[in-house]
Symmetry: C2
């Protein structure tokens, strides 16, 4: 009868300490989203399959979790399809709903469905789990949270400037100093492909360029050649490998490379404006750095591209990213709505903060005060005292059962409870309570009628 | 190409105002869970099917959403099963995971899996969505939140007393005064069935009794007869229909009815202790009321049973419920762990609060300050000002684009933004900003170098 319980591969239970730490990050992000004027929305965990399918490429379609129809689902499958015994043909006949794969497509669907209730420009944030049938591996899960903020319906570059500041504000508040916000622009990448005569190979070109960090200049050139980019085109692009200096200096180098490309120069102008404005306003702990090799989500972004790296001394991929996409809602019939957004990578931020020991110790504190349980009558007095504390927002509890003192003290210790209150028969008679300071090892007596004398120090 | 977007039946999008209101309730519940010493855990949205199946009865099994296996799932179905074309036999072959149906079974699974890391007694809370393939109808959804707090590993009735106080504290904090916390005890119901000689018909007896509110005394008696409960048994039970007075008075009446039943008298003693202790400690705005007809979750609870009714002037089912169950984790192999818990019905609490207009107006405020966008240079000055406000926790934004003043003011109006800041060319030159108080219609000028003069009033 009894099962040995387990959870599905790629999913996680979160213990109280883990929840508290995750919430600390989420609340910090949320607070900043809100002071920056973003408003929360929530969408259902599952969408109609047709809302999601075909939006993330073939690989995405494969990784979307489908929900089996309820009831006698198989009776609705026609005999021809059934007799083929083919998973791909059967799937659409026996599933109508699928789990959210990201927050962007549901957001686009939301904007289109609710366009008449929304005041544009619409600044929304959304912090919800998503699910992907990825092969589970270290740091990659089948259920994980995304934390997204987007503005739709506003083309000005003020948004890009604000998103850089928002990244800086959040990471500064988390104590995560020394992050690098890398910025690029899809138009610059298009311009480069244009001037080197590889416009039709833009994606191959940028995918290769994106690997400069990992495989070096020679590796990138080799891959480009293999993809059919000519040697002369690669030669023309070679200034890219030698780009150096500050963002503004690199922009000057780009200008001379891209002078013949209208779209390329438009990208440079955007980067120039964003960079100048961010510099004028200043950042607290992050730095903004132009990175012409940055190409994430190329099929998707049309303007700015962002990616945030953890401080240099931590080995970790990007901890955030985003960009501008000119026609997000077009897939659902609402044309010409420009969007720009960023995302925070909760799981990776968590790992970085653990590694750098950045969680304040108060985050994982369970309760402030535990009252020892000495029996019915005593515990009622304890409950009365505890309720006075709770009304002041102090986390307090009475040990649930009247067991050995030693066991109760052990519980207080292992839960890191800083104060233990004792109300035994004698204290009850004298209308007093004793407070044991677990860190100091000291204890002090207070009057039950005047508990503020103790609580005012908490 | 363009699809007309929709969401699945029984699911909901939540707008910024709705999210804010839901969060107001959730945060209030959460804060009280924490001051009462409960700690949060989170479990995955989907569990292995065998963890959930068979735990909620046949009806429950039917209502659990199953997730289709990924990849070429159908190739793993043997030919015999496949040729039967039977949904019930196919389901376990093509699904291994299922969406969380409630928070109790995953909690039991969690406790068993993590028993060596947990300090018992374990007071946990969990606020997460669950999914049920119920027929969608008014107030019933396929995705909804549960807000549960439970204590496992403690048999003392102190827990029951604390849960009554916790209900009272939460509903008082929400401004929801006049709730009734109904209490009963499974042992009392068993005792009644025993003394009237209908022990083997306990469930039929209690299901009928539970309907007293709806179908009246005659209706209940008729149903009992139909279920095979004898006329003399029903006669013996008739004092139940005439129970009146305070909880303590009703307990006296129960005592004389149940004097012959050991289990019945044990139930009365528990109710007596809980009621006396709650009375001694006092409640702020709720009342505790014995209700011997209360029988929810009978197959499940073994001691106290709770249910909370909204204030009398609101027509709404229960807004919370819970009870004690003696062997929750036994299904996963960990015996003799007593649990007791309560749940808050978020959706119903929301509806009641809307009906009684209890949400503070501050909850649905979007941002505090909007700066009008007069163009690049002005908006950079605005951004500088806005950043000073944000650092103080004030929600502030610059209108994203430089459009007509009228459109920007309309946006401020429709979003209920209380203050609009103007920094035009002239203000910029004089290093000033103008604040328009949208409610009063007044405006005032401040120095850009001394924004505290304005913000200190917010």
């Amino acid at each position: 009868m009894a099962q040995k319980p387990s959870i599905p591969k790629g999913t996680r239970d979160f213990s109280p300490t883990e929840v508290a730490k995750r919430n600390y990050i989420i609340q910090t992000i949320k607070k900043h989203f809100e002071v920056y004027g973003f408003q929360p929305i929530e969408t259902p965990s599952f969408e109609n399959s047709e809302t999601l399918m075909g939006k993330y490429g073939d690989e995405g379609d494969r990784l979307i979790f489908k929900i089996l129809n309820s009831g006698d689902f198989i009776s609705k499958v026609d005999d021809v399809t059934y007799s083929s015994k083919n998973s791909a043909s059967l799937t659409p006949k026996i599933t109508e709903k699928a789990l959210r794969y990201d927050l962007t497509v549901p957001f686009a669907r939301y904007v289109v469905m609710h366009q008449n209730e929304i005041d544009f420009p619409f600044k929304r944030y959304q912090i919800q789990p998503v699910w992907r049938a990825d092969r589970p591996q270290k740091g990659r899960f089948r259920e994980f949270y995304q934390c997204d903020a987007d503005v739709v319906g506003a083309k000005s570059l003020l948004q890009e400037v604000e998103f850089v500041q928002l990244y800086d504000a959040v990471f500064t508040a988390l104590g995560l100093k020394g992050t690098t916000i890398k910025i690029n622009n899809r138009k610059v990448l298009s311009g480069i492909a244009e001037v080197i005569g590889a416009k039709h190979l833009l994606i191959d070109f940028t995918v290769a360029l994106d690997k400069l960090d990992k495989i070096g200049e020679e590796g990138v050139k080799k891959e480009m050649l293999a993809k059919g980019i000519s040697e002369s085109a690669i030669d023309k692009a070679s200034p890219l490998f030698a780009m150096s200096g500050s963002s503004m200096e690199q922009l000057e180098q780009l200008k001379s490379l891209l002078v013949e490309s209208e779209i390329g120069m438009a990208g440079v102008a955007e980067l120039d404006e964003i960079t100048r404005n961010v510099e004028a306003l200043g950042l607290q702990s992050a730095q903004l750095q132009l990175d012409v090799t940055l190409a994430r989500g190329l099929n998707y972004y049309t303007g700015a591209i962002f990616e945030v790296s953890a401080p240099e001394d931590v080995k970790m991929g990007s901890i955030g990213g985003g960009g501008r996409y000119d026609d997000l809602t077009g897939i659902f019939g609402l044309k010409d709505i420009s969007g720009v957004g960023i995302s925070f990578g909760l799981d990776r931020i968590y790992l970085v903060m653990e590694e750098l020991n950045l969680f304040p110790s108060s985050v994982s504190k369970s309760v402030d005060v535990l009252c020892v349980n000495f029996g019915n009558q005593e515990s009622m007095a304890a409950l009365k005292l505890v309720n006075q504390m709770r009304a002041k927002g102090i986390k307090a509890e009475v040990y649930p059962t009247n067991t050995k003192m030693q066991k109760q003290m052990k519980y207080a210790n292992s839960r890191n409870i800083p104060y233990v209150v004792l109300i035994g028969a004698q204290e009850l008679e004298q209308e007093q309570f004793v407070v044991k300071d677990m860190a100091q090892g000291t204890q002090q007596t207070y009057s039950l009628g005047n508990s503020e004398e103790f609580t005012e120090h908490l």
